[in-house]
Subunit: 368 residues, 2 copies
């Protein structure tokens, strides 16, 4: 069976091998007589699944020992409140606004802290990234927040800022929801990273938090116990019942990532090479066309989310109908931006991007 | 294939038919070319799944029109904070403490409100339920909270209190995590009910909230937007990306519940009849034995969670080893209570309880 190619921005396509394994193990995991959904989170079976998932992720992303890996609930949107409840100490927080997600984060943080926007690409309609040298950092912020890949606007930080070099001692918080595990992370520049699982890791409902040990233990009194990082870390993410099946699915995805190879590369660097090639194929085609356009500055284009437009937008509906018929799903752009969006997460094979480009070329030809 | 019987207190056994359907649809839901995990929550496919799940639950539990059904994240433990953030208005809240869960709820609410314990069964080691006539209600509470089934201590309210008849106008909040959908709910006595899904509804990571419309819109300023019931309700549970796969699994479970029949009964009343018969079988056996004991007062014994002890506790390990070998899983009691616990949620067939009783009888015989 050939499955259609699914370009959803999230929840998004999952690796076929992962779905097949999950289906095969649904009623009986490794001869335990239980499906994973049916296991007590305190039993030895699920404890081993969770421990393996954490160890595999730590190895994949080269997470240093002084960082804790937390499996939580609530999604990136809840983290917009949970991060300031844990890290702001009610003080000042600096936000770099580069699109819808960082905007939402700044707004929500205002409930718990003094949220300052220290840089913004709003004047450019979120198609650029403000250079760190120009950020008006507070100097007294509890942390600096940025969204390292904006799912809706399609801009991505290809290098994280070195805050220390900018004279800023505050930890950097990144929302890496929509490009987590698509490339390595420079942990020397990061204090905390969070992300919803539903783009690159697994099912919606699981939230990943990777946090430097010294940032734990400063939650505001109003922080719910279930979302206090110190409490979650001390209980190995089992203070409340975790989203067990989603952790299992993420674990299978981590194993799939470990198996990736490309040239002489393996794991995340292999995945990164594939993602770079996929994105280049689509961007190069769009840039070479006068029928389609991507408005994002080249140096900050996202490898994961490619928003693009038909120069003649009256053909949008026909484009989408034809795409669906060609087995190319969920290409409609976000309502706030319009046009189209192709999300090229890890699970999207190069063949899917080739099929998309091929369809786009043919659509242009028949409409000309 | 005969699967073992799984008595886990949660995450717990799921109906085999539900797991089979989920496995069959894992890579392709209804010819859409996508698995349910891979669908945008804003797409027509998932929107239809979520709407159907909500409609089926409303019909099953006879939820009145002036109640909203919310699918959230965080589990019952997060709701211990989310409920007072939404309903307490920072005032007084009355708690009926009947076991570990209501105790935890009262403690967490103290972060946001003045939490008063108005009745407690602590002196009886949580083996009784305090009669409503004796509750020392504040008269000015924003709500009265109780846990209608205590998973750990095995006590269950077989009738919800009529607060109005007690001269109290405050809404009743019930934590029905561990017996939701095992019996009908008298909504005329309830203002809000919440429950984690992982006992009777579906996978861990989904939280059900059923709330009377007039209780929305009073969240404290510190309540995260993602957990503000008004925001969640106004966005049909899609303000943040919901745990889509868990909603789908719960939806399949609702359909399985709708198909239940017993005598002339269907749906929840059929399920209740089955649950009553299952619990009676086990309690009657224990009460007739001098080898096993259940310490809970008969009139408030839970149909869902049956904690019991071997009179000679030195035989516990042998009991559990033999049970595992006989295909009777996860019978170990909660660490705070000790002994054994058999959870008889909806998905446990009568045959499973018969097999347990049969094993218990045989174990007693061989040990005598």
């Amino acid at each position: 069976m050939t499955r259609p190619y699914n370009f959803s921005a999230g929840p998004a396509a999952m690796p076929e091998a992962v779905l097949q394994q999950a289906a095969a193990e649904m009623l009986d995991w490794h001869g335990s007589g239980m499906g994973v959904m049916e296991m007590s989170h305190r039993g030895k079976e699920f404890m081993s699944i969770a421990a393996q998932a954490e160890a595999d992720l730590r190895e994949l992303l080269a997470v240093p020992e002084n960082f804790r890996i937390l499996f939580m609930q609530g999604g990136g949107l809840a983290e917009n409140a949970i991060v300031p409840m844990n890290l702001s100490r009610g003080g000042v927080v600096d936000f770099v606004v580069t699109g819808s997600w960082s905007q939402k984060s700044a707004k929500e943080a205002g409930k718990y802290a003094t949220a300052r926007v220290v840089a913004s690409n709003e004047a450019d309609h979120h198609t650029t990234l403000p250079a760190p040298a120009g950020w008006e950092l507070s100097g007294k912020a509890q942390y600096v927040h940025l969204c390292s890949n904006e799912t809706i606007h399609g801009v991505e930080f290809h290098e994280l800022p070195d805050l220390k070099a900018l004279g800023c001692d505050a930890p950097l918080v990144i929302d890496f929801s929509s490009h987590v595990a698509s490339r390595p992370v420079d942990w020397s520049r990061v204090g905390l990273a969070f992300g919803g699982a539903q783009k690159n890791l697994g099912p919606a409902g699981l939230t990943l938090v990777v946090v430097r040990e010294d940032l734990l233990g400063h939650a505001l009194p109003v922080c719910p116990s279930a979302f206090d990082y110190r409490v979650v870390a001390d209980n190995a993410s089992m203070y409340n019942t975790p989203p067990t099946y989603s952790i299992y699915m993420a674990g299978l995805t981590f194993q799939w990532l470990q198996r990736q190879t490309e040239g002489g590369l393996t794991g995340i660097t292999a995945m990164e090479a594939k993602n770079t090639a996929k994105a280049a194929l689509l961007y190069d085609f769009i840039d070479g066309s006068s029928f389609y356009v991507n408005k994002v500055a080249k140096e900050c284009r996202s490898r994961m989310n490619v928003p693009f437009f038909l120069c003649d937008e009256s053909r949008n509906a026909a484009f989408l109908t034809g795409a669906q018929a060609a087995g190319l799903l969920q290409l409609k752009g976000h309502k706030s931006v319009g046009g189209m969006r192709a999300s090229l997460y890890n699970a999207m094979p190069l063949e899917g991007v080739k099929a998309l480009v091929s369809y786009m070329r043919e659509f242009e030809r028949t409409q000309a």
